[in-house]
């Protein structure tokens, strides 16, 4: 366990906490950039696996940061990363929830919220693109990604079934 890595996790993820417009998935590309490209703490494929693990587990998807922290610096890393990604945005939410009534109907509030939608969409699509490229290394894997995406969009089947099916295909050595 290394202290510089812990400090780096704390700083990086606290900043990301406040940049996560539209939720945790929007900062996925930046986490990837920081963890894989800049610091080289893990490979792209490992990042995709940790993300998959967090998605397949119960609880908020943001817990992928706990796994990243844990991979980088053990239990301390997991705690630091989780508190860093949550702390700043939680404090902001706490403060704003006290004064929300004053401006929730304000035109500027709605304009800001609407204005952030395109940015959020761009970030989510970028996240999908990057995570697909890191996760999929065979035609079959790309097919699993495509079928899952199409099925999630077109049906009301619970996503866990797709995880289960994909996991079985993987265990069978087909992906």
């Amino acid at each position: 366990m290394s202290d510089p890595a812990l400090a780096q996790l704390a700083v990086d993820f606290s900043v990301l906490s406040l940049l996560a417009v539209g939720g945790a998935v929007t900062v996925l590309p930046e986490m990837y950039r920081s963890v894989v490209d800049v610091h080289g703490w893990m490979s792209g494929a490992q990042f995709a696996e940790l993300f998959a693990l967090a998605q397949a587990s119960p609880g908020p998807n943001v817990l992928v940061v706990s796994l990243i922290g844990w991979k980088v610096a053990g239990l301390a890393g997991a705690l630091v990363a989780t508190l860093a990604i949550s702390g700043p945005s939680c404090i902001l939410t706490f403060v704003v929830s006290r004064i929300w009534q004053r401006f929730r109907e304000a035109p500027w509030r709605m304009a800001v919220q609407d204005g952030l939608v395109p940015v959020t969409v761009g970030l989510m699509l970028a996240g999908g693109y990057l995570i697909t490229l890191s996760a999929d290394h065979s035609i079959a894997a790309f097919a699993v990604t495509a079928v899952t995406a199409a099925a999630v969009l077109a049906t009301r089947i619970h996503p866990l079934w797709f995880f289960a099916a994909a996991a079985l295909l993987g265990v069978g050595g087909l992906v």
Binding site: V15, L16, L19, A24, V25, P29, D37, E49, F51, L53, Q55, S57, P58, G59, P60, N61, K71, T82, S86, S89, C90, L92, T93, F94, V96, S97, Q101, R104, A111, V112, Q113, D114, G115, V117, P118, V119, V121, G122, L123, L125, A126, G127, G128, Y129, I131, S134, A135, D136, A141, V144, T145, T148, A149, H158, F162, F163, A167, V171, G172, V175
Partner: protein
Amino acid sequence: MNRTTAPHAPSLGELFLRFMQTSLSGFGGVTPFARRMLVEERRWLTDEEFADVMSLSQFLPGPNIVNITVCVGARFHGAKGALAAFAGLMCGPFVVVLSLGALYTHYRDLPAVSGLFRGLSAAAAGMVVALGLKMSASRRLRSAMAAFAVVTFLGVAVARLPLILILLGTAPLSVAASFWKRR
């Protein structure tokens, strides 16, 4: 504000326990489970109050479900309530996810386990793609505003620029354009 909810206000312990229970049963996104717990089962919030908490949570940065949890905790017991609800939300899944992580590290060299993870990763990637595509269908993108989505995508996915640079570039312009459209 007039409140017509909550047969009784939850205690700190109740906030902690209910959020823990909800989050441990929340597969593939906790928000729908939280809505059911808060509005239908516990009746700590009305439908409208939940919608209001939701719009605040979406307006601010951070995971929606975490913001919802903080708002609900704060509403009943201030900072202590926010902390209790937040701790409840996070600590159960935190233990689960790290235990799974430990198993994964221990066994990832087995062909069956590495295969399992290749399958899971491919499906998880598909979920993110679906989420992005679903949001692209937003009414708010059926205009020149879509250009901001394209620029953001290219900046992040292709140019691999730091997020803060991209946000400083696109967010103010996109928000300004949204203001201008409203006038």
